[in-house]
């Protein structure tokens, strides 16, 4: 294993999991939350010409997904460097 110690490996995996779970929480919030279960509530809010809930379901969720993946890519690259497991 390329890690300095088994503790290092454990810490790396823990940080990875916590990042992943945070991002998945947002993923579920914008799609299942704003787009589906809370859609009727949010539809009372007008967002330009859209009802807000409808906008999340047909546009906003998709933009958020893209941002989530790119945050993940950036943070993971940092994490790989920190624990020196990045590939050259």
């Amino acid at each position: 294993m390329a890690f300095e110690s088994a503790d290092h490996a454990k810490a790396y995996w823990k940080e990875n999991l916590s990042l992943m779970l945070k991002l998945l929480f947002v993923w579920a919030l914008v799609s299942f939350g704003f787009g589906i279960f809370l859609v009727d509530v949010l539809n009372h809010v007008q967002f330009f010409g859209f009802k807000l809930g409808f906008w999340f379901a047909q546009q906003g969720a998709i933009y958020t997904f893209i941002v989530l993946i790119f945050i993940y890519i950036r943070q993971m690259n940092k994490l790989d460097k920190k624990y020196q497991v990045d590939e050259e």
Partner: protein, 569 residues
């Protein structure tokens, strides 16, 4: 120039391009053939994944479905994009680190079991065939409408094309053709969308345009007008929808998880050089897919207004048949628009609604293909849309063919029956298997079983209930053993299949009240997936956890260093 000549020229040019690329990117080894030598840059891989993913159904049917379902159509938008978050965060990097050629390879090795491998091969082949039949049908429809060749000839031309460049180039050829196909299909999808958005609202961007006010000076928002029209004509309000909330949730989740479990999408992540590239190509794939998927709802709502205004007239009183624009006649000939005898004879005006005033019916499938004609756009735009539809169908078929051929030559032949064959023999077997797959696919394209459309929807449910949990537990639950995983997969598949078969074929008239918790057969994969997780964990409690060397293997795929080249051994 007339539409037909223009279409021949545009489609012909794209075909010449695909053949050129295939010859340039010939495959020399199984490594080239299965995973493009593992040397595809992440942005190119993202683009190829997008083309691989967006099928004839996405291109031709999705906006139409949204147009007719309104808010309920959001399940496709969120479901088919949200799956990429799961892929990029939970699957792609680890499967890339594992470094094998196929999904059954992972399942078989991780669960140290030939049975698990065989179950996975079976699922991969079933899922891929149901998909490919639908693609070939899409090619047939485009050819018959725009080139006026019959559907059989259309299917044969499409199949010959796909076979040629899959045979020659394998994954390497497919990847670079898909990059070209993505550019063509995205261009063909967005150009007409920009035109119609501008006509309707004065906005250039479809994404903002469908939330803008109408260009007629009335100051009404487009969606407000569409809601009003829908109510007036007896449809559900466009932005509200009518399905049960739990059902919308179940379908969305099943599509997301199904996307992440589809073998032809997963293998794309085996083609990049490094683990970090696998993450990156997931991100790029979603960017390229979003270009089309955020445009689709705009096309859906704008064309819906256009269709209603053309058939019912701006004052919603109906238009006489003799005054109908030519696109109505064109599509009436294909059977996708139906008009009653009385309206055709001029005894009453045409009317399209959801109550007893209706005498005209419009099929959802024409929304994208006819949108340039409906909006009076120039002929070259119509030709472009035809080329885009063909590109979408070909790119997806090629990806699926590769899954089928590698399942046979690699998973069955090399890993199960004849481990001692050489690389060259395996490559030959892969090409022969692709040939058979093409013939079977063509047969289904020409003689589609009546249930193709439903079957494609099952593919997601089946992938969600079988592959996804097995792969996720393979990575995140290192004590999970083969007995648990197999029991989970079998439960998931059997339950999902049984529910779909019962409610689609044996009792198709049953509605939400008879369904389990109002969940439709389209969404039942979500329940199948949960059952899979639960059963696997219960079985694990009563059996021995996975052996130490497997747990070490799982440890090693969690860390990116030393992913090396993808190998078959």
């Amino acid at each position: 120039m007339d539409i037909q000549t223009l279409t021949f020229i545009v489609v012909g040019l794209t075909f010449a391009l695909y053949i050129g690329i295939a010859i340039w990117a010939r495959a020399g080894s199984t490594n080239d053939f299965y995973v493009a030598g593992g040397g595809v840059p992440p942005v190119a891989n993202g683009m190829a994944t997008a083309a691989d993913w967006m099928s004839a159904a996405s291109f031709i049917s999705m906006a139409g479905l949204i147009s007719f379902m309104g808010y309920d159509g959001s399940v496709y938008l969120m479901g088919w994009t949200g799956g990429y978050v799961l892929l990029a965060l939970c699957l792609a990097p680890y499967l890339r680190k594992f470094g094998k050629f196929t999904v059954p390879d992972f399942i078989g090795d991780r669960y140290y079991s030939q049975t698990a491998r065989t179950v996975a091969v079976f699922c991969a082949i079933v899922v891929s065939f149901t998909y490919i039949a639908g693609q070939m049908r899409g090619v047939g429809v485009v050819f018959s409408r725009f080139l006026e060749v019959d559907i059989t000839a259309g299917v044969l031309i499409g199949m010959a094309m796909v076979y040629f460049y899959t045979l020659l180039g394998g994954m390497k050829g497919i990847t670079y053709t898909q990059v070209a196909q993505y550019c063509i299909l995205a261009f063909a999808y967005t150009v007409p969308a920009v035109f119609i958005t501008f006509q309707m609202t004065g906005h250039i961007l479809p994404q903002t345009g469908f939330g803008a006010t109408l260009a007629d000076g009335s100051g009404t928002y487009l969606l407000e007008r569409l809601d009003g029209l829908s109510r007036e004509l007896g449809f559900a309000a466009y932005t509200e929808g009518s399905r049960a909330t739990l059902d919308v949730f179940a379908i969305t989740l099943a599509l997301m998880v199904g996307t992440a479990g589809l073998p032809h999408v997963i293998i794309r992540f085996f083609t990049v050089p490094k683990v970090s590239d696998a993450r990156r190509s997931g991100g790029w794939a979603l960017v390229f897919i979003a270009v089309v998927y955020t445009t689709a709802p705009a096309i859906a709502s704008i064309t819906k207004v256009n269709v209603l205004d053309t058939i019912n007239g701006p004052d919603q009183q109906g238009v006489m048949y003799e005054n109908a624009p030519s696109w109505i006649n064109n599509w009436e000939q294909t059977g996708l628009i139906q008009i009653s005898e009385e309206a055709r004879a001029g005894e009453e005006p045409m009317f399209f609604s959801n109550d007893d005033r209706a005498n005209t019916n419009v099929d959802a499938d024409i929304i994208v293909l006819a949108s340039p004609e409906i909006a009076n756009l120039p002929n070259w735009v119509v030709a472009l849309v035809a080329a885009g539809g063909v590109a979408a169908a070909l790119s997806t078929s090629a990806g699926l063919l590769l899954v089928i051929s590698s399942s046979v030559s690699h998973d069955l032949l090399k890993r199960t029956f004849k481990p001692d064959i050489t690389d060259k023999q395996e490559l030959l077997a892969a090409r022969i298997a692709a040939g058979f797959a093409v013939l079977i696919g063509a047969y289904f394209g020409i003689n589609p079983p009546g249930f193709v459309a439903q079957v494609v929807a099952f593919a997601f449910g089946l992938a969600a209930a079988s592959f996804f949990p097995a792969i996720i537990m393979g990575i995140f639950h290192k004590r999970m053993n083969s007995t648990g995983a197999i029991a989970g997969m079998v439960t998931g598949i059997v339950f999902t299949l049984a529910y779909i078969i019962y409610f689609k074929f044996m009792n198709p008239t049953a509605g939400p009240d008879e369904w389990f918790m109002q969940i439709s057969p389209e969404g039942i994969g979500t329940v199948g997936m949960l059952l899979n997780f639960i059963v696997a964990n219960i079985v694990l409690k009563f059996t021995k956890e996975s052996p130490a060397e497997i747990q070490e293997l799982v440890e090693s795929i969690r860390y990116p260093k030393g992913s090396g080249a993808a190998t078959g051994h």
